[in-house]
Every structure is written in C-alpha cells, then in structure tokens.
Amino acid sequence: MLEIDNVSKTYGLGDDRTSTVKALDSVDMTIDRGEFVSIIGPTGCGKSTLFELIGGLVEPTEGRIRIEGDPVTGPDPRIGMVFQSHSTFPWLSVLQNVTFGLRMNGVDKAERRRRATEMLDLVGLTGFENARPSELSGGMNQRVAIARTLVMEPDIVLMDEPFGALDEQTRLILGEELLRIWRETGATILFVTHNINEAAQLSDRIAVMSARPGRFKAIVENDIPRPRDGDTMTTAAFNDLVQRLWNELKDESRRGLEQKTGRRVDAESGDGAEAKAETRPADT
C-alpha cells in the first residue's frame, strides 16, 4: 500500500545555507492496507518532516515514497492529511469546513451535503453544522478537521499529532472514537505522535524514531487484542508495551532535548532571526 523506501531529507539551516541539517536518514518501512501505524519520537526528530514527505508537500533528498507502486511526486488524492491543531478554517461554519474539499473538487451541492452529514454523524458532530470553529472546543475542532479529511475518502490518512493540543481526557475519548472511525471506514492510518500511551492505545505497529537525524530505531508490533478501551490501558500487557517503548525512546529524548536547546542558540545568532524567533512557538 504505502512504501517508504530508504528516504532521507536534508535541510539548509537558518541564514547560512551552506550548513545543512539532516532531518531524516534512510527511513524505510512498508505499510499494509488497513493498517494503523504510529510513529513516535523525541521533539525535532523529523516526524513532521516524514509526515509532509508522505503527503507530497516536500520532496525527499534521497529515496522514494510509493503508493501502490506509484512514486509520490506531489500531493495525491489518495492521501488525506490531518494537521496538529487550529487547522479548521475559522471563517467557515462546521458544515462548510467539512464540504470544503468536495466543493473545491467540483462535487455538486446535494452530494456534498449528503456526504458531509454522514461524516459529521461519524465524528459525532451532528447538530453542530452551523457552528463556527471559534465556538467549539479544541477537541471538537479536531473532529471537524478529521471529518474534513475523511469526507474526501482517502485510502491513507496521515495524522500529525492531531490530539497534541488537547487535554488527557479529551485525548483518550478521541482516541477511542478514532479507532471506531478507522474500523468503520477501513482506512490505512499513519499517526504521528510523541505520546507513548496514545501510540500503544491505537496502533498495530509503532515505529520508534531516533533523535536527529531521524531514523527508525525500532518497529514494535502491538499484539494487544482489539477492541481496546479504557480498561485495556490498565492491563499488564499494555504496561509492558509502554515500558518497552519508553526504553527505546529514553536516550533519544534526552539527545533530542540537547539538540533542541543547541539549535535554538544557532537560530538566534543568525542575521535577522531574532525578531522571528520571539514570535515563533518553541517547537517549530
């Protein structure tokens, strides 16, 4: 279904493009149809880069990504993307947000409405059609974002820390909802997160990434039986898995943290970068 074939990505850093940073190094994985795969890793390990590479938003420096054998050279309609947070369009209503992609692709009004209504039902937002994103909670906004992506009926759904800005309870509830939606739609999901519990709760397989340059340090099979619910997370098997993931991740997190503070110093010494650095959130 989705092949990530030995992909590397190098960026030029800051003002001086002659110094480069290798964000991803020889990442290699094949994902089967209908699989739920999570990618976890420390801050700045290139998870989001991988997400954008698969989505066709950036090109790999080396290697290839293939969907059913076709190399990805740009955004592909078979792939749907869900972003971190605040990605709903504030100037549109919930219904208009969900029908946005359909409208842009020339789907007629009745069909748009039918599919959007179905999708809002799936994500549990029936009755909120005319609400504005600003009137909704963060969790509800992410439901809108998920519906907006799923309504396009992609074969593969990429999610970049979609619950990252939510509180723990909302995160758990939305996790369960996501599993239900996944079952009902049969989509392939690639889920980027830095939350170990979330990865263990949701996925079939979990790829653990190293600190920069990001590579797959380990790919862990998750054989905890489905359906999983809140009780699953108290079982010994679950805790073992979390412990195993944490062991893989521990050193990488520390390295990642060191790199991050090191990089911030770099970024701020550059010409004109000071003003920008002030307004930028800490982890971009």
């Binding site: 954008e52 989505g55 066709g56 938003l57 955004p75 309609p77 792939i79 749907g80 993307m81 972003f83 971190q84 605040h86 990605s87 369009f89 100037w91 549109l92 946005f100 992609g101 842009m104 692709n105 396009m152 004109g272």
Partner: protein, 264 residues
Amino acid sequence: MSVDTGGRLRGVDAVTAGRLLVPVALVLLWQALATVAGEFALATPAATVGELLGGFADGWLLADLRITLFTLAVAYALAVLVGVWVGVALGLSDFWREVFEPLILGVYSVPKVTLYPVFLFVFALGVESKIAFGWFHGVFPVAILTMAAMETVEDDHLKIGRSLLLSRWQTFREIIVPSILPGLVIGLRLGFNLTFLGVVLGEMFASRAGLGYTLVEYIVGAQIARMLAIIVVLVAVAAAVNVAFFAAEKRLGARGGETADVRM
C-alpha cells in the same frame, strides 16, 4: 460624574452627542469666520450650499464630479488589483519579501507629487495620466498592508490547500483572501484615500477637467463659494466611502487602522 449605571449611560450619551455636535461646531466656526472675514474673503455656509445646489442643478458640478469619479474608479480598481497581487506574491515568499520590502517602503517615503511630470510624459495630458497618478498613490498602501496581512495566513491552512490539490486561484480565493481580509480592508481603505488624493492632485496640476481642475480655475476669479462647494463634495465622497469601510472593518474585527501611516 456618578459611578452608577445611569451615570455611565449619560457618559455614553455625552460622547454620541459630542460626535454629532462636531460638524455643527465646524459649520458655526465657518459661519463666524465668514462673518468676520467678510463675504469676499470667505463665503458663508449658506452661500456655499446655494452654489452646491446650483452646481448640481445646472450641471457644472455634476459634470466634473462624474469625470473625477470615473478617473478614481479606474485608478482604484487597478491599484487594488496590482497592490493585492504584489502583496500576496511577496507575502508568500520570504525571500522576495525581504528583497522588495525596503525598496517599496523607500519609494513610499518619496513625495510622489514630484514625479508627476514623468507620468505626464508617459501618458500625456489626458485622463490616462490622472489614472496612472492616482494608481501610483493607491497601490503602495494596498501592497504594503496586504503584505503585512499575509503574516496571518496559517501555514497549515496553505498545506491543507496543497494536499487537496487546490489551484492557485482556489488557494487565493478560498484560503488567502478570507485569512487576510481583516488587514486587507484597512489597506483597501487607505488605498482608496490615497488614490482619491492622487487623482485630485493630478487634476489640480495639469488637467482640462475634473473637480481638482475646476477648483484651481476658480482661484483666478476668486469664486470662493464655488470652491467651497467643490471642497464639500470632495469631503462628502471621502467621508461616505470611509464610513462604509469603517463598518466593514468593524464587522471583520480589523485592528491597527488608526496607527497606519498614510503618505503621498
């Protein structure tokens, strides 16, 4: 003043009443000045209104107004088109924005009126030179404020657009325009004001028609009442358009228009 709600209400009423009184006070001041200076130095408000109504009735004012408004409309439409295009294009590219921003701000700081002869050379004396000159005044604030508003476009929104394979036009219309709209309306208002000023200046300096032209013509005959009638029309056009823009800005929650720098 008391601090209870009644007092607060009276406070709000004082502001409203005060705002309504400002034009009244201006007219009274005008009347007083006219009385002191004498009718030949400064026409009274009543005489001006008389000329104004007469000007509409026998058409001299209306004909000039039509020419000025036509020039203004064409110049403004072109200023918006080019200004928004430049602002969006530069806003989308960090590199070109950095290249052009100081150049645009530099040209913006030059008194544009000095360059008017160049426009006259290129476009001759007809309406084209007035359109070009009005455009030249208006295009800068539109471009500069559009460029600033582009900072508010969310990267993720643009990425969603790309992942949905939106065309350039779709991205512009459906994502960029709604994102920048609050800042954009301020730019459009300032752009209008400067285009208007540019058109009137152009007419005043070298022209054969239009309100600005007629205004300067009346210096010779010292037709004060007619000059004032033209000024009243110009002020009315500016005020009406700006009030409409203020309403739009308020509805869109636009901020920062008060501090924006308007230059000619």
